[in-house]
Assembly symmetry: C2
C-alpha cells in the first residue's frame, strides 16, 4: 500500500510552511504526483475547570476569512516538546496556568495534502493570570460548560476540526 518517493521538488519555503511536489510510485505500478505542505506540528489544549467549564478562544482566521471559536492551540517552536508548547500556548492565549496536563492523542488535520500533526491535551488544576499574546495575535477568551461547547459543535457554531475532535474526546473520556 506504501507509496515510494521517486523525485522530490521543494516549490515554496515560507516562514511556517514548506511546499513540495513529489513523484511517487504506487503499489499497483502507476506513478502519481503528490503536493505536500510540510508544517512544524502544533498542540491544542483544552483547559477544564473542576466545575466542568472549559475555556475557548475566538480569533480571526485569515485563510477562512472568519472569526472562529477554537481550543487554545499553537505551533511547536523548533526543538520544543509538545507538553512545553501546550503549557506555553495556554498561558499566552488565555492567561491560564495548569498544574496537570493529560495527553489524549494526536490528529492529522489534512493528511491528503499536509503532514500537520496536532497533539491534544486536557489541562486541569488551573489558575487564572493575564494573557501574554504575540504582537500579531488578537484573541478573546470565552468560558462555558463542556456540554455547551459540544452543543455548539453539533449546531455548527464551532467548526474548527481539532476543536470538535478534542472536545469530543474529552467528553467521551470524562463523560
Amino acid at each position: 500500500m506504501e507509496e515510494k518517493t521517486l523525485e522530490s521538488n521543494t516549490v515554496f519555503t515560507g516562514k511556517i510552511i514548506t511546499v513540495k511536489v513529489d513523484r511517487v510510485s504506487l503499489t499497483n505500478g502507476w506513478t502519481s504526483l503528490r503536493e505536500v505542505v510540510l508544517h512544524p506540528g502544533a498542540v491544542a489544549v483544552l483547559p477544564l475547570f473542576d466545575n466542568g467549564d472549559v475555556v475557548l478562544v475566538k480569533q480571526f482566521r485569515y485563510p477562512v476569512g472568519k472569526v472562529l471559536i477554537e481550543v487554545p492551540a499553537g505551533k511547536l517552536d523548533p526543538g520544543e516538546k509538545p507538553e512545553e508548547c501546550a503549557l506555553r500556548e495556554l498561558r499566552e492565549e488565555t492567561g491560564i496556568d495548569a498544574g496537570k496536563l493529560e495527553y489524549v492523542g494526536f490528529v492529522y488535520t489534512s493528511p491528503g495534502f499536509s503532514n500537520e500533526k496536532i497533539y491534544l491535551y486536557i489541562a486541569e488544576e488551573l489558575s487564572q493570570h493575564e494573557q501574554d499574546l504575540d504582537v500579531d495575535e488578537i484573541v478573546e477568551t470565552i468560558r462555558l460548560p463542556l456540554r455547551e461547547a459540544l452543543r455548539m459543535c453539533i449546531d455548527g457554531e464551532i467548526t474548527d476540526a481539532k476543536t470538535v475532535a478534542l472536545l469530543s474526546l474529552a467528553f467521551l473520556k470524562r463523560g
Copy 2:
C-alpha cells in the same frame, strides 16, 4: 478583529492546492504576513447501517507516510455540489449507494494556514456494490460498529481529524 489584505502574491499553483503569501493589516495597527494554502474543499461521509455498523477506509497517506483509517472522503470537483460529491465518493471508495444523506455540518481542517472546508454527512439506506477507484487510489474498506470506531478514536488507532469529528458528531446526534 478582521485582518485586511494589503498585498497578495501567489507563490505556487498546483493540481490541487494554490499557495499565496499575503500582507495583512491587523486591527491593532500592526501588519503581518500570512501564508495561505487554497484548497477546493471536500466532503466526508459516514455510511451508517441500520444495525449501527459504519464503513471506514484504509489508505496510505503520502504526506504523513502512514496508512490511516478514515471516513470515505474526497475533494469537490469544479462546480460539483457537496451532496453529489458525497454520494460519488461513497460509491467510488466503498461501492455503497445511499438512499438518504443527512448533512451534519462542516469543519475547517487547518484554519491557521488553509481554507480547506470539509462538508460532513451521514449516509443511510445503504446498498453494497463494487468499488470504483481512481487509478492512483488504493483503498481498503472495513465495517465495524460505530461504538468500536469511537473506541479507536480514543485509543489513537484513528487519528484523522475529520474522521474523529464526524464519528463524534454522529454519536452525539444518534447516541
